[in-house]
């Protein structure tokens, strides 16, 4: 463990408040943990207000209300108002399910800054299949209402093998809906996406073609729509600088109050993640075992510890290293310098074989029944 010197630790800037794991959708690439069904308890309104107050005092300013579906929390407007009073710039990350014009206005009045609506595909059939819920028309309606009510509208589409062929239509849809920002998030293989990887991971050719289309579109809409393209790191040869470095910038609070350096970190063994019901955010951020675990560089193994790029990517993602190699201290296998790098090609080959198989196994949808079955 490194970085326990308090003066060297930068304060949190981004807070992700996962208000609940409850969600009416069943997306098979959900970033929630596979075993989410066993975490039934949710923080109270007062707990969340305390967390927001404490993190803001330390310097957190970007706030995402997420889940699950955060709209299932009845106290959302109250939390939004509290966040606005504290000076947060707040974002509702929603499926749009259950969002009415009345609610959109109510949240605006409470001080919400922007709304990020997810759409699963460019056609009703595929969207509703992936979401596991009939929701396409309503999502489009919500996107219109978000614009109408003066919010910056952020459209988020998660990209994978089932929808990557729709890239031109997805871009057209974003333009038609008047998105101010479009997040094209290539699936990151954690949680449910990890379990469904053989069915979701596109081929390299599919990635390259889709990326080309997206880049051309980016130039076309420059000045009108901002595109955030989340890279598919299985086809990179260097890992992402995950979370801008462990415990440097991002703080996630899970529905039950567990504080995490990233939203997947509760899957890592032996971190003893602290709970906001037991400690203040300041204690958690500066003093907890969890947040100091991968701070700095002392925890690294070769090839990371002597690598001249370690200050750029911090050895990549700890959760990905653990999920793919079983060793959370290892270099992210995405890195071509990692001895585990062949695991990535194996995953790509396995997904391709699955795509070509006569009877491909079905997607595992994210719901409580499957969560209990798998954990």
């Amino acid at each position: 463990m490194a970085g326990s010197n308090k003066t060297k630790i930068t304060p949190p800037r981004w807070l992700l408040a996962e208000l609940t794991y409850a969600c009416p959708l069943q997306c098979p690439y959900c970033a929630n943990p596979i075993d989410y069904a066993k975490y039934q308890s949710e923080l109270s309104t007062e707990d969340w207000k305390r967390v927001l107050t404490q993190a803001r005092k330390m310097g957190a300013v970007q706030l995402g209300f997420s889940g699950g579906e955060p709209l299932t929390r009845k106290d959302l407007p109250e939390l939004v108002k509290h966040a606005r009073d504290l000076g947060y710039y707040s974002n509702l990350i929603t499926s749009g399910y259950g969002l009415t014009e009345e609610k959109i206005v109510q949240l605006k009045e409470a001080g919400l800054d922007h709304i990020q609506v997810s759409i699963q595909a460019s056609t009703q059939e595929l969207n509703d299949h992936l979401a596991g819920t009939e929701s396409f028309q309503h999502k489009k309606e919500v996107a219109h209402l978000v614009k109408k009510r003066g919010y910056p509208m952020v459209l988020c589409v998660v990209i994978h093998r089932e929808n990557i062929h729709q890239m031109p239509q997805i871009l057209e849809m974003a333009e038609e809906l008047g998105a101010d920002y479009l997040e094209l998030a290539n699936t990151q293989y954690y949680g449910w996406a990890h379990a469904n990887r053989d069915l979701l991971l596109p081929t390299k050719e599919q990635f390259e073609q889709a990326e080309q289309i997206a880049q051309a579109f980016k130039e076309k809409v420059a000045g009108k729509m901002k595109i955030y393209y989340v890279v598919p790191d299985f086809y990179e040869d260097r890992p992402k600088a995950c979370m801008n470095g462990w415990g440097t910038t991002f703080l996630t609070i899970a529905p039950d109050g567990v504080a995490l350096p990233c939203h997947s970190a509760r899957e890592l063994p032996g971190l003893d993640c602290p709970n906001v019901k037991d400690y203040s955010i300041e204690q958690i951020w500066y003093e907890s075992k969890t947040f100091n675990f991968f701070r700095g560089f002392d925890w690294m193994k070769e090839p990371c510890s002597s690598c001249d790029e370690k200050e750029k990517d911090f050895g990549g993602c700890r959760c990905q290293a653990y999920l793919l190699s079983g060793d959370m201290y290892a270099a992210d296998p995405v890195c071509s310098k990692s001895p585990n790098h062949p695991i990535i090609q194996d995953a790509i080959d396995s997904a391709k074989a699955s795509a070509l198989a006569d009877n491909e196994k079905p997607l595992i949808f994210r719901n409580s029944k499957n969560s209990r079955l798998l954990s």
Binding site: G59, D113, H114, P152, G223
Partner: protein, 90 residues
């Protein structure tokens, strides 16, 4: 993209400009992002209130800081701001 000299300039309603106590600086906030501003950039943006055009902003800032010759620097910064969508005209 360049600044129209006749039209007034206002800060974009799709962004927020605010002082951050913890960072001791002004920042621009927008979906998924934050830009940290130095003092002079922040002073210029605070003048973009929809009542002043470029010449008036230059004049007001030159008076405020008892100096002259700010036209080029302010114009250059506002062009960057316009390109990034931080300000609007009309």
């Amino acid at each position: 993209m360049s600044i129209n000299l006749d039209q007034t300039i206002k800060f974009s309603p799709m962004h927020r400009l605010q002082w951050e106590e913890a960072q001791q600086k002004d920042v621009i906030l927008y979906p998924e992002g934050m830009v940290e501003l130095n003092q002079s950039s922040a002073e210029i943006l605070k003048c973009c209130d929809g009542t002043r055009n470029l010449a008036q902003i230059v004049n007001d800032l030159e008076q405020k800081f008892a100096t002259t010759g700010l036209t080029n620097d302010i114009t250059a910064f506002l062009e960057v701001a316009l390109k990034n969508g931080w300000i609007q005209q009309n």
